[in-house]
């Protein structure tokens, strides 16, 4: 959920853009991270662990912990907590560990 009123901060958001999460069209703002846009859209489960298949969500939000790796425009293992959202981006839940191309 987005904060609309805040006693101290004013949020300068970029232009509203569309992107795709597992094929579903969602809205976000240019300049924010993919994780921020997904969170605002209510998406908390970003993937599942490889062995135990436990749900994985955002944890550190600064590119440290690798809890948020996803497949973005066909490239796997993208840390979506630091990757910026772009118009038309295709963000997919990653299956497996991904491989080098």
């Amino acid at each position: 959920m987005r904060i609309t009123e805040h006693p101290i901060l004013e949020f300068q958001r970029g232009e509203e853009i569309s992107f795709f999460f597992n094929g579903q069209e969602l809205k976000g703002f240019e300049g924010e991270t993919i994780a921020a846009a997904l969170h605002a859209a209510g998406v908390r489960v970003l993937g599942h662990s490889h062995v135990m298949h436990r749900p994985r969500g955002l944890f550190c939000a600064i590119g440290n912990c690798s809890s948020c790796l996803m497949d973005v425009d066909g490239e796997p293992n993208i840390r979506i907590c630091v990757e910026k959202l772009k118009p038309g981006m295709r963000v997919e839940t990653q299956q497996g560990k991904g491989c080098l191309r």
Partner: protein, 367 residues
């Protein structure tokens, strides 16, 4: 961009310590390059909305993000200084070459001196289902809330009543989120009472001698069980409470981000008072690898105020070792050391001072 970038002083990390080191060194005349892995310099300051304590010299009374903007401004106006964002340092090699990844390119830098100011990362605690979506580090909550303007959920259990736990709880309340409780395993509140009082006045319970025994939920947090701890930190049977929350926020401390120091073969030592493994270093913050300095949380977790002063001290010392400002450097170094003593004069600072004494003592070096 040339294949190998030359600079006199390379600074790893553009947070409060790194930026302060950069402007101090550049002001004395050294050429400085700052590498920052995030898209914007400022480190964790950019998400801190609370007012700082200390003295005017450490920007007391200003809010964290305003201090960040000020440090960025100081660096921007300095012709000796460059800041490269979106650039992650990968390694520091024996021949002095530093490699980094930036904008999809592999970069090589040959600095004369290096200041590592990489900061710290959040600690985790063990409890069943601590990997569920909805469990965040306190820094992540601050990033979501204060940088992106997004709340993490509706009702939060905060773990840890140190300054970060208290401040982030208050910020969540400012953003319209309910705090079910703040729990703290220790028998007393760790943070400043001025922060705790504001939260208590708003009716939020701060439960000391309490811990989390588990989180539960299918695809994300739906609740958490907490319980009381006795004098020997053991759970008190029958004291369990079930809190319906969709967020568990961990504010259980930080550990220094020392990978580069280990990799650069600095002597390291485990010092609990400084929150983990830290590099052995001189009073002027030079590690056992000559020409490699540290500043800020990487040299022992403290606060942004002391990180800025440590940054200044490391910047002056590195510049002076290259022959810049030799006439005024001793005076500036003495000033910085005096400010650090002043900042560490309080009860929280006593722990840091014990840690530094432990660190400087030659025994117990691990590698």
């Amino acid at each position: 961009m040339p294949k190998v970038k030359e600079t006199e002083i390379l600074i790893v990390g553009g947070g409060p310590a790194g930026l302060s080191a950069a402007s101090a060194a550049a002001n004395l005349g050294a050429s400085v390059l700052v590498l920052e892995r995030d898209g914007k310099p400022g480190g964790q300051l950019i998400k801190q909305t609370h007012k700082f304590f200390g003295s005017k010299k450490q920007y007391a009374g200003d809010r964290g993000y305003q201090i960040g903007d000020l440090l960025i401004e100081q660096c921007r106006n300095n012709p000796n200084l460059e800041v490269w964002t979106d650039t992650t340092v990968l390694g520091i090699y024996e021949d002095g070459v530093v490699t980094a990844e930036g904008q999809g390119k592999h970069l090589k830098i040959t600095p004369k001196k290096i200041i590592v100011a990489t900061g710290a990362s959040e600690k985790m605690i063990a409890f069943p289902n601590n990997d569920l979506p909805g469990i965040y580090g306190a820094g992540a909550v601050q990033t979501l809330m204060n940088v992106h303007g997004i709340v993490p959920g509706k009702r939060v259990l905060m773990i840890g009543a140190g300054n970060i736990g208290l401040i982030v709880s208050y910020q969540l309340m400012q953003a319209g989120v309910e705090i079910a409780a703040i729990i703290e395993a220790a028998p007393t509140i760790g943070g400043y009472l001025v922060h705790a009082s504001k939260i208590r006045r708003a009716g939020v319970p701060i439960l000391t001698s309490h811990t989390i025994t588990e989180a539960y939920g299918d695809e994300g947090v739906e609740g958490a069980i907490i319980c009381k701890l006795d004098e020997s930190w053991q759970p008190v049977l029958g004291s369990e409470q079930d809190l319906k929350v969709d967020v568990v926020c961990l504010a259980v401390g930080l550990s220094p981000l020392t990978e580069l120091c280990f990799q650069a073969d600095c002597q390291m030592k485990y010092v609990p008072e400084l929150s983990g493994h830290v590099p052995v270093r001189s009073e002027y913050l030079e590690t056992t690898r000559p020409g490699l300095y540290v500043a800020g949380d990487v040299s022992g977790v403290e606060e942004a105020s002391s990180a800025m002063v440590e940054g200044r001290l490391a910047g002056i010392s590195a510049a002076c070792s290259l022959g810049y400002g030799e006439d005024i450097a001793p005076k500036l170094q003495a000033e910085a050391l005096a400010e650090l003593s002043e900042l560490r004069a309080g009860p929280a600072g006593q722990k840091t001072l014990r840690g530094i004494i432990n660190l400087m003592d030659k025994g117990g070096v691990v590698c």
